[in-house]
Amino acid sequence: MIGCYVTGILPRPKELIETTRAYERKKAGEKLLEKALREATAKVIKAQVSAGLSYVMDGMLKWQDLLRPFNENLEGLKVGSLARWFDNNTFYRKPVVLEAIRRTKNIATEITYTELLPKNIPWKAVLPAPYTFAKLSENKFYKSEGELMFAYAEILREEIESLAEKGFKYIQLSDPALVWNPFKKPISKDMFAYIQGALKTALKGVKARTCLQTFFGDFSQILPEALEFPVNDLGIDLYETSLEKLKGYDFDKGVALGIVDARSSLVEDESELVHVTREIIEAIFPSKISDVFICPNCDLEFLPWERAEEKLRVISSVAKRLEKEWSIYG
């Protein structure tokens, strides 16, 4: 199967940006902001539906950053100062861990506009992966990063369960910290074991399809270890990954191939993407092809909405062309 979907926070459309700016300047109130958020969410859902994506998200327009809903709603955490979001000109607020972290309510289902999601297309949700959550937090309580990772993984499991109960069929864990590695420090064997363990904890008994989505870094550096992660699919940023190295591994899992660049406004050439994707699929699945999802390399929030919408159409079109090829020849 060759499907397609988006992989995180979508850009806020112009009208919503205007309202949020007015809200910042105290020229619009909560009600107006909420209305604008709902309308914009409906708009970005509609765009995904008309592009023909296989799974649909609410677009996470309310999320100030990937960690914020957890940062604000888990007990034991404090919203800290601004920090750079990897190598982007974008910032997030650091979660500061002051005591044992506890979950006292549903977080992701509460912030998601599930009532606006379509009934006839399966839903996808995105949550921060344990490693990224631990790496980006300022830990003032737990003895180690690993311990924080496990505490968060327990919480994550409850979050995923509540999402699955609500009807979400696909859960993506975003893990940019796992591959963003500007100083080229290898991840130790012990750390891989920790990550594996934390993912196991987070995903135990989960009744949804799962993906560990990596971005902003070279996926080939976590191979072959990543092939053992207890997820259905592995997400790869093809704009940061050495394609030659990637092609050197055999995959027995599904992959989410980030073939459109959410950090570039240039709209990609579809034929080239079809060609490149075909080559990757043939290389990493030498005998039996697993499921493939065509997607942006990271959250599309780095683009103005109109450009992101164009890229939605590109991923869908590439997925359809490849699906057609495989159904003929495969």
Partner: protein
């Protein structure tokens, strides 16, 4: 400079409401006009009535709008002089903003709209859609006006090419590289490099040349994006870009970088050629109590990284936090300076500075902060004299 601890601001100063509104063509309230008069008197500006005439008009001609830029620049220059700074500029009163001002005055770019910076803050991001082309000077007129209106040393803030490239979508070069390079990552890297060096050659160096022709003696390259990608490859690219920018010009250059990764920058700072000064922020991370000990001056520990990695130029030592209304007492400024001397040894390498431009503070707060900065520098000079 002969004097120890020359004082400077980094670049921007808030634009007064009368400047912003009148320039946009909006009517002004009496209070806003009174504010212009009040500061004009306080700063000893002559012929304020001419400004008031423009401000009270319902509509303003293009020439009058130009006059407004001159008026607010005149105010800002006098503002810095009255606060007692040794090195001045016009508070960037002629510029809309450090990024947009340049991009809007160069050919080859198109603004695509707002993208998220954080929370409900956004920035207007442009794409490079054809080879950048220099069409007209964008800092020269502002510089000449400043030079003609002050006897103090003038330092021209100049948005650096690395930052301009980092904050811009790179459509033209990515498309161009598309036909030649198959690997997406390599393609992007190569396109980024070509964009950067074209921008330096086609736009940045011609403007620097024109500034020097017009008499500029000191240009400060502002590169807030310098350590956005802290990898060795990117940092080398940044160094190469700086060196290429300043190469062969007979002028003093300095670098300003803020809210960045100084551990990374420190490793590469000594490779910056013809960089007389690094203007860095420290005050925002520092304690507020006086004292010279390391425990008191925690905000300045990164200064040592630059020394350890062999940077031997001057420092624009940030002693004023630009993001709070807290008015640093002169004694605190003094101790920050004296602490820095303990770290770097030679007091003549210290220029006393704000962390960054003051544009987010009111004039009232900015003035009080700058006055205390100047007083603090004086206290440091005295303390040093006493110990000799």
């Amino acid at each position: 400079m002969d004097k120890l601890f020359p004082t400077q601001e980094i670049g921007s100063l808030a634009k007064p409401a009368w400047r912003v509104k009148a320039y946009r063509g909006e009517p002004l309230s009496e209070k806003e006009i009174a504010e212009a008069v009040k500061w004009g008197r306080r700063l000893g500006i002559e012929n304020i009535e001419e400004l008031v005439k423009i401000l009270t008009k319902r509509e303003r001609t293009a020439e009058e709008k130009k006059m407004l830029l001159r008026w607010s620049a005149r105010y800002a220059i006098r503002f810095f002089e009255a606060a007692g700074l040794d090195i001045v500029f016009d508070g960037e009163q002629w510029r809309s903003e450090m990024y947009e001002h340049v991009i809007r005055n160069v050919d080859g770019f198109k603004f695509l709209g707002y993208v998220k910076s954080f929370d409900y803050r956004y920035f207007n991001k442009a794409a490079c859609v054809s080879k950048p082309k220099y069409i007209k000077p964008f800092y020269v007129e502002e510089f000449i006006f400043t030079k003609e209106n002050t006897k103090r040393i003038v330092k021209v803030p100049f948005t650096g090419p690395y930052t301009l490239v980092d904050w811009t979508f790179n459509e033209y070069y990515e498309k161009k590289a598309g036909s030649q390079i198959r690997d997406f990552k390599q393609r992007k890297t190569s396109a980024r490099r070509e964009f950067l060096f074209d921008l330096i050659k086609e736009v940045v160096r011609p403007e620097i040349g024109k500034l020097i022709e017009a008499g500029a003696k000191w240009i400060q390259i502002d590169e807030p994006a310098a350590t956005t990608s802290p990898s060795a490859e990117e940092m080398q690219l940044f160094v190469e870009a700086f060196n290429e920018t300043v190469k062969g010009f007979n002028c003093t250059f300095s670098l300003h970088n803020c809210y960045s990764n100084y551990e990374v920058l420190a490793k590469y700072a000594s490779q910056l050629q013809n960089c007389s000064q690094l203007a860095l922020e420290f005050a925002n991370r520092d304690n507020r109590q006086t004292g010279l000990a390391d425990e008191a001056r925690t905000g300045y520990k990164e200064l040592k990284f630059f020394e350890d990695h062999g940077f031997r130029g001057n420092y624009g030592l940030g002693v004023i936090d630009v993001h709070t209304d807290f008015i640093e007492p002169p004694e605190l400024v003094r101790d920050r300076i004296l602490h820095a001397i303990k770290v770097i040894g030679d007091p003549s390498r210290i220029y006393v500075s704000t962390d960054c431009g003051l544009r987010t503070r009111t004039w009232e707060v900015s003035f009080a902060k700058l006055k205390n900065m100047v007083l603090g520098a004086e206290l440091a000079r005295k303390a040093l004299d006493k110990n000799r």
